[in-house]
Amino acid sequence: MSLIRRDLPVWIAFLVGVIILADYVFTFPGLQVASTTLTNWAVIVTAFSFGIGALNIIQRQSKIIIRRDKYWIYSVVLIIILFGTLGIGLVGSINHPYYKILFDNVMAPLNVTMSSMLAFFLASAAFRVFRAKNFESILLLIAAVFVMLQNAPIGELIWPGLPVIGDFFVTGFAAGGNRGIQIGAAIASIGFGVRILIGQEKRWFGRTE
């Protein structure tokens, strides 16, 4: 039990990690083949996992329908659309006219709708954040005003210096802070990777004791 649950995942992670990492540094032909094969396996495993995802949805929604939970009718709609789209895709292909109708007239407009909703969410978040509650929020508000006036054409009309100050906030403070966070996160991610490779980090696959 201990071998399968605790040691085997660590050894698999170690071997795969070392092969992929070594392929970045060395140019042995065998290593490249092994690395490409493992990367292809990852793609295949990911593709198969969509089956698990579909099963998860069917199981959950079926339970809701059987128990007649609140909003159970939405689960019926979901199951019908899931199997309908799957059926059309399997019988015809993804180029089947009905499949294209579903994608172009249902999926694409819904996607664009949610994407455009971002603007409203952004506005409501900005309204809440840009309230001068304490010193930090006052700083944030000042920076935001300058950056907004840098991007809005009216900023330059009010005073030509406003876009210059806004640009200083973006290319100076924001870019500097951003790079600091990126470098720190990159080193920390390597550290986390090393901990996984040498088996010091096991919490991500569950109970280890």
Binding site: A125, S189, W204, G206, E209
Partner: protein, 254 residues
């Protein structure tokens, strides 16, 4: 590149070994402490806790096999902690995913947390939910879930794209207490603005070592701090050398 990797590895291994002999102190991470506070709030209100690792950043979407894999796995270590506290305190946990390959992993992880707290009967497999592998379908699904379940606490630790704002604002509208963490800088301003507590950049990866019962992984934090210090010194020296007309870049390029 090889030399850099070897130096980094050496730093990590040295401090990991040292951590076995003496305890390395780590500063408290307020967002991690806030997770327990958020779960306590959920218990008091009798409403569920929601956790998600996100869809993945736009350029790295593709799950564990992609370059956002480490962020997702680091997020899973925080899920292990969240599940354990939820099991201990009796809070209902809902975990949602855009990457289906994480569903079996999370299922095992959450089940193990309930087993370790002797509360397997309270484990609900139907609360581990794959929503959709499409970004906006995923975020729309979560908006509906937040309103139906009236979640009390929303915890987002993983890799996020444009859906971060939709999820965080949706949870805010539902009146949830929020803790988020990510290594991607594109969505950090958004989650920093909307959420109550945020794990920024390296803190997000440090959280895994911080939460570990074993003090050894904390050695890696000391190792990466040493490497970072070296990098800062190298940057200052390089800048001065370039100002003085000594083109150090030609010597580094290989």
């Amino acid at each position: 590149m090889l030399i850099t990797i070897l130096i980094l590895f050496a730093c990590f291994i040295f401090f990991l070994q040292r951590a076995k002999k003496s305890i390395i102190p780590v500063r408290r991470l307020a967002p991690i402490d806030a997770i327990e506070e958020g779960i306590g709030r959920a218990v008091e209100l009798g409403r569920p806790v929601h956790w998600t690792p996100g869809y993945g950043s736009a350029e790295h979407a593709g799950g564990v096999g992609s370059s956002s894999g480490l962020s997702l796995l680091s997020g899973m270590t925080i899920l292990a902690y969240v599940a354990k506290i939820c099991a201990r305190r009796g809070a209902e946990l809902i975990a949602t995913f855009a990457n289906p390959e994480l569903v079996p992993l999370a299922s095992e992880l959450i089940k193990d947390a309930y087993v370790s707290e002797n509360k397997l009967d309270e484990f609900k497999p139907e609360n581990i939910q794959f929503i959709s592998s499409r970004q906006y379908a995923f975020s729309t699904g979560l908006l509906g879930l937040f309103q139906r379940e009236r979640i009390a606490t929303n915890i987002m630790t993983g890799s996020f794209g444009a859906e971060a704002l939709i999820i965080a604002e949706g949870a805010q509208i539902a009146g949830a207490f929020q803790v988020a963490g990510s290594d991607g800088t594109t969505q950090l301003p958004v989650i920093f603005a909307v959420c109550d507590y945020t794990l920024i950049g390296e803190e997000f990866f440090a959280a895994a070592a911080y939460l570990s019962d074993d003090p050894t992984p904390r050695g890696a934090l000391r190792g990466q701090d040493l490497f970072k210090f070296g990098l800062i010194v190298f940057t200052i020296v390089g800048t001065i050398a370039m100002i003085l007309g000594f083109n150090i870049v030609n010597y580094i390029k290989m």
